[in-house]
């Protein structure tokens, strides 16, 4: 008990955290004093030994990990609960959204999805000049970064080339803010080359946006659509994800005696435990937490039936290399055809396991497979199916090596290409790389340019200058800087030829 009090004391008096950040860490400590949702011994052991990871979501899931409200509801009907009338012009529409965001929970306590903004705002743009739009978006963007300072907060635009999307891209490059994160949904049949070029030029300026392959994502969801949130998770709109549990493939490989043992015994076994953990967390959220009694459900912002469970994996590179060693093959993951092929086989096996396993409460009765981008506490294990940091081949070879994985990861696969700074003199090269990768079947395209201050640390954005300041004990206004600093110290991410990205979880204090 003494140690808990000491820890709470340390949080309260931490000189680098703001009062809000302290309050959040205190609440996490309180939640984790509750017992964990009921688990059998085998699953508990797998969780304790690191084969499974619950991403420190907490002991009592009282809110879904990711909530993707259908904001068109509040923009067309207003909200009785929030005493909002339906907006009639652009100012009112933006104001409605600004209010709405403060009522949308998620694992971080901040909204991870702020809507498909051009589609939401275009109906209010009649008679608004481009210059007026630019000024309003600029204020909106400043508001978002200053009041909801979390890089997991994510806006979507596209695939149409339209004035709102253009204004957002212009403002995003100009302000160079960490928040919000941004995805442009690209469809070769709908998006113009000009808007894609503006998006890839923005990547050179500020490592944003992330480019999503719209036709591929669309095919994985239904007519209500999808949203890209947080660090590149594709999820149903008007729903989200109840939980994200991940399986450490490296640890599974360490417990295997051969490739056959891995594929036919250990992977199905630990996958079964992963589903038990998912079921337990989903069960608590849906059956005990009373979350779904919310006005969000009653007013139709979200639908209880549209929450999936994310089945995440990581450590593919280490798993493949360990299995290669077992069969006396020296080819390494990302560089060798045989090693890469083994990786594709594992992804296919995972997709089959996920496709065949029913999950109670989940959208369509199934979990969704996700290549998970890593968290700040990961050590000696590479995110998702990525090629280990510092060992990546050139961007074209890199894309070709990972391409066959992409079809299997319906709820997102986060890969970050790091590009040399010389690309700043040749933005056409990035445009072609992006367009070509998507045409070849890449589900998403994300890049960092070496030397940009604003970089991804596993999925979320950080400023390198902020990390340097934080490490000098000056604290940071944004929550993800803390994660970025931990990740930079623990995971070698900054060794990634430029730097990398990571994922969004807020780990517990200390």
């Amino acid at each position: 008990m003494q140690s808990i009090q000491e820890k709470l004391q340390k949080i309260v008096c931490d000189q680098t955290l703001s009062p809000q950040q302290k309050a959040r860490y205190l609440s996490l400590e309180a939640e984790n004093m509750l017992p964990y949702p009921s688990l059998d011994t085998e699953t508990t052991k797998a969780l304790a030994t690191g084969v499974l990871c619950d991403l420190v979501e907490g002991h009592a899931p009282y809110k879904p990990r990711y909530v993707l409200p259908d904001y068109s509801v509040v923009l067309t009907q207003g909200s009785e609960y929030l005493e909002l009338e339906a907006p009639v012009d652009l100012d009112e529409a933006i104001n409605c959204l600004m209010i709405a965001y403060h009522h949308v929970p998620s694992v971080t306590g901040m909204p991870v999805y702020i809507g498909h903004l051009d589609q939401l705002l275009l109906p209010f743009c009649e008679g608004v000049t481009d210059d007026q739009l630019y000024r309003k978006i600029k204020l909106f963007w400043r508001y978002l970064d200053r009041t909801l300072p979390d890089a997991f907060m994510h806006a979507n635009i596209g695939p149409q080339d339209n004035p709102v999307a253009r204004a957002i891209l212009r403002v995003d490059a100009e302000l160079q803010q960490i928040a919000p994160n941004l995805t442009f949904c690209y469809d070769p049949d709908i998006s113009s080359d000009a808007i894609l070029k503006q998006a890839t030029d923005n990547i050179i300026a500020c490592s944003k946006p992330h480019i999503a392959n719209h036709p591929l994502h669309q095919a994985a969801f239904d007519e209500k659509g999808y949203g890209i949130v947080s660090c590149y998770n594709a999820l149903p709109v008007a729903g989200g994800a109840g939980t994200l549990v991940r399986l450490n493939l490296k640890e599974v490989a360490l417990r295997s005696t051969s490739v056959t043992d891995f594929l036919t015994q250990k992977l199905p076994y630990y996958s079964g435990l992963c589903f038990r953990l998912i079921e337990s967390r989903m069960g608590y959220l849906f059956e005990q937490s009373n979350f779904f009694d919310s006005f969000l459900v009653q007013e139709g912002w979200i639908d209880t039936q549209r929450f999936t469970a994310m089945y995440g994996i990581y450590g593919m590179a280490e798993a493949v290399n360990l299995l290669q060693d077992m069969q006396q093959s020296n080819g390494r993951y990302g560089h060798d055809a045989q090693a890469n092929e083994l990786g594709y086989q594992i992804s296919q096996a995972l997709a089959q396991l996920v496709g065949h396993t029913p999950v109670k409460h989940a959208w369509r009765g199934r979990a969704m497979l996700h290549s998970q981008a890593g968290i700040s506490s990961d050590v000696d294990v590479t995110p998702g199916v990525r090629i280990p940091y510092g060992a990546e081949p050139d961007p074209v070879t890199h894309i070709q090596a990972l391409l066959p994985h992409h079809r299997y990861y319906d709820s997102g696969i986060s890969e970050i290409l790091t590009l040399e700074e010389t690309i700043k003199n040749n933005p056409q090269a990035l445009f072609t790389l992006c367009k070509g990768a998507l045409a070849a079947g890449f589900r998403e395209f994300t890049a960092n340019v070496d030397s940009n201050d604003l970089v991804r640390v596993t999925g979320y954005m950080v400023r390198l200058s902020d990390i340097a300041l934080y490490n000098q004990q000056q604290g940071s206004r944004t929550n993800t800087t803390v994660l970025g600093a931990e990740a930079a110290a623990g995971t070698h991410i900054l060794e990634r030829k430029p730097r990398v990205v990571s994922h969004e979880i807020s780990p517990s204090y200390g």
Partner: protein
Amino acid sequence: MKSAQATVSKVLNYSCVDGPGNRLVVFLQGCNFNCRSCHNPHTIGLCNHCGDCVPACPHKALMLIDGKVGFVPHNCDQCDACLKACSINANPMVQIMSVESVLARLLEHHLMLDGITLSGGEATLQADFIVALFTAIKADVRLRHLSCFIDSNGQLGRAAWQRLLPITDGVLLDIKAIDIQLHQALTGRPNQRVMQSLRTLHQARRLHELRYLVIPGFTDQPSEVQALAELVLSLDANIPVRLNAFQHHGVIGPAREWPKARQHDIQVIVQQLQQAGVREIITPAVYV
């Protein structure tokens, strides 16, 4: 008929510094200049199979077979110890590539490419291969959108250019120096043919850009920069001039003692060229 083959030092699937957009670059082995400032000196010579590199390889990737140096790519760790052991600036890791094998590589990656650039060494020393390769690219409906570029030192004669230009979309032409004595001192050759190539390429509208390596103390002298400006203006003030900054990576011999070109050195030259009327000047994105 046996298809054309090339002696290749290296192939890159990705380059954003060898012409417009993303390019597959084939570095052909062998050069007819011997630049003291060369950043890839191991591409200059052709292997004479002396075998000095074989014991220098710590990974057993090289061996002597019937008096010839053989290379086992699978064992190679790319440590470049063999290049350091070579006394004639050659490269035992060269590969012989056919037109078909380059086409196969292009077909694998074409969605992510804007084009191909043949560089070197001096690419035009293997002009037959270039003609065969570029002709085949333009005959293939899947590849003909790729632009075909050559990076050259300009030593090629006018008649040979006439063979290449109909199937070449652009040339990146290196101008090592304008002053003949300086050119001779830096490269071992005079530059009359380079100047002739410049006019030939300009008239044929194939000159994509001029590349000028700024070496402090040599090519940054005001008289030399002025001569460069006058040369550009005598053709077209809009010809892009790319200034590259001399640095030490890869350089061997006394040139390693020469000072690097810093951002400030480049800016001084940019100003002088602009004042003289040169309109398009490209400067390095990075200084190392």
